[in-house]
Amino acid sequence: MTKSELIARLAEANPHLYQRDVERIVTTIFDEIAVALARGDRVELRGFGAFSVKRREARQGRNPRTGEQVAVTEKAVPFFKTGKQLRERLNNAS
């Protein structure tokens, strides 16, 4: 399912809303999660999962092709941990 399919499904199930508004709702939700993560916050959605940011320290890396040493700067990577309820649903549904 893509974002536009998600919007289409929601619009179909909520005929009282304009498709335009459904689009804004979905966009706002994901933007808000992204903004929170960029601030370094955690986003916890019980039953679904939690997004967090993990820091990777600066390290000496190597160019795998040439073997040359390169400095890799400190990085932050987004991380998602599946919620307990969703994890259970994924395994009971089949």
């Binding site: 979905v26 706002t28 939700i29 955690r42 994924l90 549904a93």
Partner: protein, 107 residues
């Protein structure tokens, strides 16, 4: 960085501010969005949100695990796990945020 936790309350508030539906309806719609995603994932579909990331299901086979306390061998049954891959855009947004916070700390 002062780390805080954002929950459904803040997300539905953002929907309320941005779209102008009632607070109740905003909360309901957030729930519907999550439910649609959960439904697709339990059907075995992956969910791709452009400029955010994708959620997909990976099937894991049986393997032998060990109870770390007793050292006893226990079989781990095949199961499905959800993996999230952040988009390049989300990754760079987060790193720009980190760089900004680091600059503020210095000054």
């Amino acid at each position: 960085m002062s780390e805080q936790t954002v929950t459904r309350a803040q997300l539905s508030d953002a929907v309320y501010q941005e779209v102008g539906l009632s607070r109740n309806e905003s909360a309901d719609l957030l729930e519907l969005v999550l439910n649609e995603m959960v439904a697709a994932l339990t059907r075995g579909e992956s969910v791709k949100i452009s400029s955010f990331g994708s959620f997909s299901i990976r099937s894991k086979g049986t393997r032998v695990g060990r109870n770390p306390k007793t050292g006893e061998e226990v079989p781990i049954l095949p199961r499905k796990v959800l993996v999230f891959r952040a988009s390049q855009l989300l990754k760079s947004k987060i790193n720009d945020g980190l760089a900004k916070a680091a600059r503020q700390q210095k000054s």
